[in-house]
Symmetry: C2
Subunit: 229 residues, 2 copies
Amino acid sequence: MAEVQLLSFWSSPYVMTVEVALALKGVQYEKVPQDLSDKSELLLKSNPVHKAVPVLLHNGNCVCESSIIVQYVDETWPAPKGSADLLPADAYGKAMARFWADYANKKVKDALTGILKSCKRSEEEKKAAEEHMLSVMGMLDSALGEMGGAGPFFGGASMGFVDVILIPLLPSLPAVEGLAGVQVPLVQRFPRLEAWFAACQAHHVASLLPSSASISEYVSRVHLPRLSP
Amino acid sequence: MAEVQLLSFWSSPYVMTVEVALALKGVQYEKVPQDLSDKSELLLKSNPVHKAVPVLLHNGNCVCESSIIVQYVDETWPAPKGSADLLPADAYGKAMARFWADYANKKVKDALTGILKSCKRSEEEKKAAEEHMLSVMGMLDSALGEMGGAGPFFGGASMGFVDVILIPLLPSLPAVEGLAGVQVPLVQRFPRLEAWFAACQAHHVASLLPSSASISEYVSRVHLPRLSP
């Protein structure tokens, strides 16, 4: 058995976050894909509270919840030579990173789901969902300016906590835009976020993410039919 | 101006959490009470995203969100002589504390609100709200056994992160029980949690909490009329 195992599911944004964090810290691990429609004994035993992926297994410890796993990874393994830890060293930098990671976790998924749901609704509700998405993106764009300094990442010159929380947007945002027939005007409205997307796409960890086309197919087959109109 | 200020509101459980954390770390601070029906420039400027208390002001930094403030406090000030930090030193201990703090934040308030709401509903819904509360309390009771060792706190012999997140239960649980006419059978069902309540009541930080009677009066006057039946 590998020293580090990750209970995973290919389309989970929370799993993507943890995979990217592990890659940035140079941690070798074995991916253990889970069938979420028929949960394994291993998953139920290692995350009895939420019964969800990702779960990191390390030294007999089970660590659950992506944000908590990322911090565990950051506190357990040193950064590879020439790279930085995911969280800043100072308490205020840590607080800022935690604040925006929490904001991203709470707001971005809701905003994306809102856009998907609004497909089936009135023009007014579509407009409201788009406006909400724009306000969330605007907040993130400001945070990127405040935290990232000269950028291009929230972590500055290298990816940090907020970057790994947000990186599932790379496949998810184009997928949702395509399915809903809307487009978030990144270039015109949020040039810093636009540059962030470009820098993430160019980073070697982008190869760990599923394609936008596969997410689009999965969401339209599995999630869209379940969304209440 | 004091070196540390806390934008506060007397009945906020999140403010109670931060006040207890500051007291445990021996940090002197000035409380700056806020009028939440007419938010001050200072509050809007220091927490533009959520516009909510608590906010900790320290060295020109604004730190928001109670869980994040508690970690900032723990990472900024050393524990007073003879006492321990709020989070354990090891990465897995930290992950466990963060997991249960997050669980408490997400589930306990919802369970209490569920009980309050169920007052106005059918016997079946009342029963369901009570069962949900019991399942949350059961999870916390197990976590206390797992994390707290010989106890009496989640932090072991002294209060830690999960304890300060949960301590607003001291006034809130009896208030909600009284208003809803139910009683969580702590003594029979959750002896570890019962001992936790007793140890918290006996701790000097309990004097920082408002009385159960004042919370009860406030909830019945301000929150109950707003709850949809």
